[in-house]
């Protein structure tokens, strides 16, 4: 009976956060992989459920477990960003701000397929992507992110700022690549005909 009560309590405390945790995990892996992370996090949460003192802090507690699971799996993977690429994104962002266009991202975003911008979060450094996603996608306040990730408020501010700048730069770089690819395709087509 005691086990039943614990199980019921675990479900009622943790299940309301399942959707959000799956959405968060989807940045670290696709489909089944993201769900594996979440399932592993729930298994660990079950074994340490007695340590959760304040059920109002359940999301933060689950998030930290999920983050640990993802970080452990990631250790075996090579991280995708290199310094040269980040510098390229910074340069692209600076060009956008310097150009005499009132809203430099407007057209780029209008051309973007649904889901592509969230995918682009995978291309920028993890600490920046995390802060941007928690704020812009999941609606957390800066103070909440600082508590969740255990960083100072000023660091949240700079991570969100830099993360969005790199995302904007990435969109510009990718759009340029796409334009180049289409132009090459057109040239090849007209050369053949």
């Amino acid at each position: 009976m005691k086990a039943e009560r614990k199980h019921a309590a675990f479900q009622s405390v943790t299940l309301p956060h399942l959707d959000r945790l799956v959405a968060i995990a989807s940045r670290w892996g696709d489909g089944n992989e993201a769900e594996d992370y979440v399932q592993e996090a729930y298994v660990r949460a079950w074994t340490t459920f007695h340590q959760l003192r304040d059920t109002r802090a359940a999301f933060a507690w689950l998030y930290r477990i999920l983050r640990t699971v993802a970080a452990e799996r990631w250790r075996t993977r090579a991280r995708r960003q290199d310094l040269l690429f980040i510098t390229e994104l910074e340069h692209a962002h600076e060009e956008m701000v310097a150009a005499d266009t009132p809203d430099p991202l407007d057209l780029l975003l209008a051309r973007l397929d649904a889901g592509r911008l969230r995918e682009a979060l995978r291309e920028i450094p993890e600490d920046l992507a995390e802060a941007v996603e928690l704020h812009d996608v999941h609606g957390l306040k800066y103070r909440e992110i600082a508590q969740l990730v255990s960083i100072p408020l000023g660091t949240v501010m700079s991570r969100i700022s830099r993360g969005r700048q790199l995302l904007a730069g990435l969109l510009r770089v990718q759009d340029g690549d796409e334009v180049d690819r289409l132009a090459t395709g057109r040239r090849e087509f007209s050369a053949k005909s």
């Binding site: 086990a3 614990k6 199980h7 675990f10 479900q11 943790t14 299940l15 399942l18 959707d19 799956v22 959405a23 989807s26 489909g31 993201a34 769900e35 979440v38 399932q39 729930y42 298994v43 079950w46 962002h93 956008m96 701000v97 310097a98 150009a99 005499d100 266009t101 009132p102 809203d103 430099p104 991202l105 407007d106 975003l109 973007l112 649904a114 889901g115 911008l117 969230r118 941007v132 996603e133 704020h135 812009d136 996608v137 609606g139 306040k141 800066y142 501010m157 700079s158 969100i160 700022s161 969005r164 700048q165 995302l167 904007a168």
Partner: protein, 89 residues
């Protein structure tokens, strides 16, 4: 605010700056095109990310999560008519 307050513009866009700093950034923005473009960039990325579709848990995951913590099922009794090992003589 003489130099560009680039590092504050994201927080300004998100309404996360204290009143004094927010007012100072607002004054700077009135006369600075690059900073207005920086502001537009932050607003655009935030709005676009907020519109992105989010994946949800599959029904199978919901089932697996619901099973966590349940005592493992006892081995099921063999179906009627199933062959049993003959006792050793």
């Amino acid at each position: 605010m003489g130099t560009h307050p680039t590092h504050l513009i994201a927080a300004y866009a998100d309404g996360e700056l204290p009143r004094g700093e927010s007012d100072a950034v607002a004054v700077h923005l009135e006369g600075c095109g690059p900073c207005r473009r920086e502001l537009a960039l932050h607003q655009d990325v935030r709005a676009a990310l907020g519109r992105e579709p989010l994946p949800g848990p599959s029904p199978a995951l919901r089932v697996r999560i619901a099973r966590i913590g349940r005592a493992p099922l006892l081995r099921e009794a063999p179906a009627r008519g199933a062959r049993r090992k003959a006792p050793r003589r």
